[in-house]
Symmetry: D3
Subunit: 105 residues, 6 copies
């Protein structure tokens, strides 16, 4: 596999910054109340939500290495897309609030 771009950046900055970021990532993505496998699927979905293709590739590889199936990964990605739409609907509701406000004046 080609070296991920984020890794290339981390290898170029101050060594204490990279090692601290990598520790942080290991802590957040390692087994805890949620398993590393569940966390990898969450990381994959967040990568899609943020529309980061490099991240999607990385966390997908991680998820597969931990046993996630194709179906689980596709379902996680669909959730990410849905939340993108849902978040827009919440902002769209501002229109109704303004219409009410002006009707009440």
């Amino acid at each position: 596999m080609r070296k991920a771009r984020a890794d290339r950046f981390l290898d170029s900055v101050d060594a204490s910054v990279s090692s601290t970021f990598r520790s942080l990532a290991s802590m957040i993505l390692g087994d805890g109340a949620l398993s590393a496998r569940e966390k990898a699927l969450i990381a994959l979905a967040c990568s899609v939500a943020l529309r980061c293709e490099d991240c999607t590739r990385r966390h997908m590889e991680q998820a597969r290495a931990l046993g996630a199936t194709r179906e689980e990964m596709l379902e996680a990605a669909a959730i990410a897309s849905l939340i993108r739409m849902g978040s827009g609907l919440n902002t769209a509701a501002v229109i109704l609030e303004e219409l009410d406000d002006s009707a009440a004046r």
Copy 2:
């Protein structure tokens, strides 16, 4: 109406910056190949797409002042939300590309 936050910022920076930004906005939002009314609806939809509540309020007022109806505004906002989901689906497709790549290796 309370003064919009963007206006408050513009009133506080260098006067040439504010007047240039305001000229730019007038040019981009004024009648052209598209009418100012169509443009206000597009601006409203983009405000929802970007999830900016202040912008949504501002461009909604503008759209109404130019004769846009409630139904037109709600339809524009629904499009914005839909594109948020569609953009996520394009990133989600990276998963399939990676699965193909690894199957081909």
Copy 3:
């Protein structure tokens, strides 16, 4: 035309999910209070606002197929870019609010 990435994803997930998403998109983008042509221009602008290149290509093709001109498409895209800046100006105003708050203390 190459198959759009979003379509590839939809073709890979559960068939009821894809057909429901496609129905939703047809309803939201079809003729209503706004014409399908006006909606395609709004969808194009939202694609630019969200910085989704795949979406920009798709909705631009749709807009052209429905008769939108080059000038109309460029104007819609300029609005999207403007709203991106305007949304930043609203957040920038937080600086002034904080300066006021601390002056008032």
Copy 4:
């Protein structure tokens, strides 16, 4: 609980749009290869990744109703924040690519 803003918007648009969106959401968030409980945690993380407070509240309630614990929810939210940083690091790597390019010229 107060009515969520997204629901208010959906209740105001064409009934076929709302019912189709709600069907889509039910399909994507219901039991599948992943359980509804796992999906609610993924939806919660995506809500944080997208910085949507209304969404965070909604999917958190859903996650709790399906038995997710405080620790699981906090872990999911931490992943979302981490991926936000990781996605920035991938873009930051562009700087190194450009430095290489110019050194090679």
Copy 5:
């Protein structure tokens, strides 16, 4: 000053995660090739670029504590807003690329 929301979250998660994140932030924001004062202004601008109001408040306080002036802070925030528009213009250019492609076919 009220406790920042990010701090409240960090105080609630695993202590090793919070202390590692805080170390990372100190390293990245402390004196280096750029001074802590220059970095605080950069952090402020990035907060505006990302439209995070809590972040804007926090990094503005930091910038002021390190001696940044009102004018410097407003200039940094204006840059953030400008880059938001510039980034949209890059995506808008996709329209021209597609028009060329179809003219060439």
Copy 6:
């Protein structure tokens, strides 16, 4: 250097729009309370924060032309990535606010 995409778009729209945008950019990025060099580094960091690769390339070239060093550019980019995470942590705190609210009921 190949022509930047944003420039190609600007060269295709109404000449008064392009020249006004370019004036605005010159004013915002020119010497002021902050030097053009400091501003170029801020613009670079905002480009990374917004994950715009074209912008990162452009503002990096600008920063280098004004004398910014590799170390300064990498430090600015690391700040951008950090603020992306910090902004997520502020949204994550919504979970704690909701847990408190429901405990208080």
